[in-house]
Symmetry: C2
Subunit: 204 residues, 2 copies
Amino acid sequence: MKKTLDFYFDYSSPYGYLASERIEALAARHQHEVVWRPVLLGAIFKITGQSPLLDQPLKGDYSSKDIARTAREHKLDYHHPQPFPIAAIAASRATVWFRDNADSEIRANTGAFVHSLYRAYFTLGKNITEADIVAEAATPFGVASNTLLQAISEQSAKDALRREVDEAVKAGVFGSPMMIVDGEAFWGDDRLDQMERWLERGGW
Amino acid sequence: MKKTLDFYFDYSSPYGYLASERIEALAARHQHEVVWRPVLLGAIFKITGQSPLLDQPLKGDYSSKDIARTAREHKLDYHHPQPFPIAAIAASRATVWFRDNADSEIRANTGAFVHSLYRAYFTLGKNITEADIVAEAATPFGVASNTLLQAISEQSAKDALRREVDEAVKAGVFGSPMMIVDGEAFWGDDRLDQMERWLERGGW
């Protein structure tokens, strides 16, 4: 059985999107499997007292440029979406539903579903807070729109996402993306390279 | 004449210290000269509404580990000092006095003086808020203690540092380290590699 690499991300996080495009190849190079863990930074920021990155004076302006520069460097498509930021509740619930599904085929498509939603938001500007848009993104994976809409409106889906966020905070997650691998936490798209060197050396 | 690379840093910033140890070699590889620009994040945070990194819930704990890990990776000595954080007013004034000095020999030693202070704090745990400690660090560069103590107590030295911080904010500086080179801003020790690739390509 492969070891796991927990990838914590918020669908509203530009750096989460950028990292999501590289994380699977990186994990695979080191015989790890990505576990997709959507979180809601809005809920986490209430605990940590942080504010959304792009709202911060000076830092926000810089970050807009840094995101564009980092996307260019990795040759990734990026168009800053509106509305932004969003609370991607439907998308996050749907992702947990994919990942923890009884159907192994649906489970296996979790990563592809995440990419589909992230790209819908950050390259096509689709508003993934809308449940219909999320359901549409699920259909290529053999999940009927109605099935998904029904699933994410159930109490169990709400509870599952709430538990997900609680567990993330317990694990020390305060931002997006955060990766936890073999007990070591790395925060930010800009830690992917360092994490890879860490995996290569088997720790320090 | 060499082009300049503005290196903005707070003496209380662990990542500023880590970056200061690599910035000159990086700049030299690309025919740039480092201009040392001390700032006071305390003053800047009042404008931006940020709080000191290590005070932030979850993020603070993570950052302590990340600093140690990053120091190990670059084989740099690091011992988390007490008191921390500090408002390094004397050290910052002294640095501006070195950098803008009429005596070219003193000016030329600015970088070495910065390293001496940063290492005193982050490797030896010396309290560089004390003017005597700062003056002691200046003596190897032919500056008598009394000369330095006198210089940094003058109104002109106070004004010079205040101007320095104001200009930094105008340039968009909100953290430490920040580098501005050829009009492009990079924030964080973790942007040194990206900055170097940017310099190699002559922009994007």
